[in-house]
Amino acid sequence: MMLTTKVRRKAVPAGFAAGALALALTGCAGAGGGGGGTEEGGTVELTLATVNNPQMKDMEELKSAFEEDHPDIKVNFIQMEENDLRDAVTKDVATNGGQYDIVTVGSYEVPIWAENGWLADLTQDLESDAEYDVDDLFEPVRDALTLDDSLYAVPFYGESSMLMYNKELFDEAGLTMPDRPTWQQVADYARQLDSDTVDGICLRGKPGWGEVFAPLTTVVQTFGGTWFDESWDAQVDSPEFTEAVQFYVDLVKDAGEADPVSTGFTECLNNVSQGRSAMWVDATVAAGLLEDPESSDVAGKMGYAHAPVVETEESGWLWSWNLAVPETTQNREAAVEFVKWATSKEYHELVGNELGWSRVPPGARNSTYEIGEYQEAAAAFAPITRDIMLAVNPEQPGVAPQPWTGIQYVTIPEFQDLGNQVSQDLADVFAGRSELGPVLERAQRLAQEAGDAQK
């Protein structure tokens, strides 16, 4: 008898959870319904749908400063997961709902959404305002958000990738890292530094188009490979692509982390910040986390260099989280006003003064890197981050011209799926369950299907 009650007791919270989930879901769908309406007193209420990243939470914390300056505008934040956000905006635009006045969109999706006619063209609004200084936004980032010479979103913060290395371990081994290393050098160092207690290098191996294929695509490009040629023919089984992937897999197997399939950004951050990896090629924003003495054992011991190259000049990737205004909004003017405020120089000053200089959104504005306090707070990595952000070329990151704008991804709707499937097959290569050849043959087939859809 007692046992049955125990089983029941388990069942009740489960039911509750299901109910709560259902409520949360309907709540999500219903929330924001008030947005787009104009209140009696002439106050405009804006609804901003955003991904739940820390920088976005900072923005919410500081929105009162905007509201004080604009007493007739109120901004409501709705935080969502990336997938929910896409779903919500898709539905809103498809049904002409006008629920959202501002949305955050990743740089991969901006051109796709713009192509679908979901986003308002902001070129005029931004260029006409001299004070806003649109040219101060990093040019490569702007390029990635531009479709047919029109700018459809503004970067809130951005990042590239670079090589981070543990200077202590390098000194012990008597090695010096050049400012612009080649992959061959990095591989040699990694194999020399690899020991029982320290991995030579940490590189993402976790399946996913935005996980392993972020660094791996940049490696492919600098080895001279690409996903597609100019006429959208897949190039995945080309010798350059194969060589690059083989190089990456071998390097991880010989001198990388033990469990590549588990290893993504967070796991590498963990390894490097505990001094268990000598090198790491990943997002520039990682530097800020590695230099934070509270969470990292290697603060002050890290060196930074440009992402390793083979045949190209630069090999950093390019990512930004951006603010955009959906075509369907009823409050376009007020929305643009807020977007401009949140991406202005003034906002960066505000974050620095209110929340601390290390929390200023990086990688969006050139002028941010000229602020004395920011230079001080981010001395170790700010100059190199700026150099890389200015140097990468999202229009042609590889050796040959490509028909899309973007570095570590292909800006087509099919790429998420393609990258995901290929990366899952790569896990078998990491584990030694299959050879690279057949995996890339299948990848070539999948890529060709995706390429044919663009023709």
Binding site: V7, D259, V261, Q416
Partner: protein, 315 residues
């Protein structure tokens, strides 16, 4: 409806012999039937409309990021599902993972149930501790296993293996299926244990005493008397655990990401819908899964009823 209220099944379930059981007054019956309609209508709306919508979606060619290209696709999505091969391999993975986890959970559950059935000091505390894994949320459990136990350099599992001289294992990369089965077994052993313990406690002591008087040893008593008695409890626990485990998603999403043969049907569906953004194709996978589930469930439910009816006859 009619069959439900008039077949002998209801009587066998032991409803008290109230006037309602006698179909003497057809008018009263009509009223009670009418009273059922709102509930029936609600359940039809809640369960069947989403299914019909899913079928409709499965006939559409619809990528979330290409809203302009949405059109009627006929059976193309089903052709893709059958041609692609990932459905069959996913079905295989699901059966393998569910089967092994259920088998191991039941065996371990039996062992722990027998141990916990003895009276000893701290029995209550031990029982509570044993049940805990089942109460942990699946996602939380997967995270604990990923970061604390199976982490390849700092995890407890590799540390323990190191003590006996076994080199560290890269769990998620090298043995993904084992990893998933390990986590699921850990989680569902308490479930099997609970049901089997209930079975053990329902066993009358007279029989065991009689066996002892007749000179049967502990092993013989267990094999010849306890185990047959537990049969129906084992059946229920296997059935319920299978139903729950068929939907497993969390550890796959958190630990192995569907690699190395761990792509279960629910993870495959998630991928088609949220990574592939192919709403039509995902819906077709969903419909296929429902069809197979209906077949399996029909067989399984028959077994379940057989178990229940046997129990009813035995008493």
């Amino acid at each position: 409806m009619t069959t439900l209220t008039s077949t002998p099944t209801t009587r066998r379930l032991g409803r008290p012999a109230a006037p309602a059981a006698k179909p003497a007054r057809p008018r009263g019956l009509a009223v009670s039937r009418a009273l059922l309609w709102p509930a029936l209508a609600t359940s039809i709306v809640l369960t069947q409309i989403p299914f019909v919508v899913t079928i409709y979606y499965s006939l559409q060619n619809w990528n979330l990021l290409r809203p302009g290209d949405r059109d009627f696709a006929g059976l193309d999505n089903y052709a893709t599902v059958l041609r692609d091969g990932s459905f069959l391999s996913s079905l295989g993975s699901t059966v393998l993972i569910t089967g092994s986890s259920v088998l191991l959970s039941t065996l371990l559950g039996l062992l722990f149930a027998v141990l916990l059935d003895r009276s000893f000091t701290g029995q209550g505390a031990a029982r509570t501790l044993m049940i805990t894994p089942f109460l942990v949320m699946p996602a939380a459990a997967a995270l604990v296993w990923k970061w604390s136990i199976l982490e390849s350099t700092t995890g407890m599992a590799n540390w323990a293996l190191g003590l006996v001289g076994i080199p560290p294992v890269a769990w998620n990369t090298d043995v993904p299926i084992v990893t998933i089965i390990l986590v699921l077994t850990w989680q569902y052993t308490p479930f099997a244990m609970l049901i089997l313990l209930a079975g053990l406690q329902a066993q009358t002591k007279d029989v065991l005493e009689a066996a002892a008087v007749d000179g049967a040893g502990a092993v013989r008593t267990f094999l010849a008397i306890t185990l047959p008695h537990l049969r129906q409890y084992v059946e229920i626990s296997v059935l319920l655990a299978s139903i729950m485990l068929l939907q497993v998603f969390d550890p796959v999403a958190i630990m192995t990401r569907g690699t190395g043969g761990t792509k279960t049907l629910s993870y495959l569906l998630y991928e088609r819908a949220f990574v592939g953004l192919q709403v039509g194709e995902a819906a077709a996978y969903g419909v296929m899964t429902v069809l197979i589930t209906i077949v399996v469930a029909t067989v399984a439910l028959r077994t379940l009823f057989k178990v229940f009816s046997k129990e009813g006859l035995g008493r």
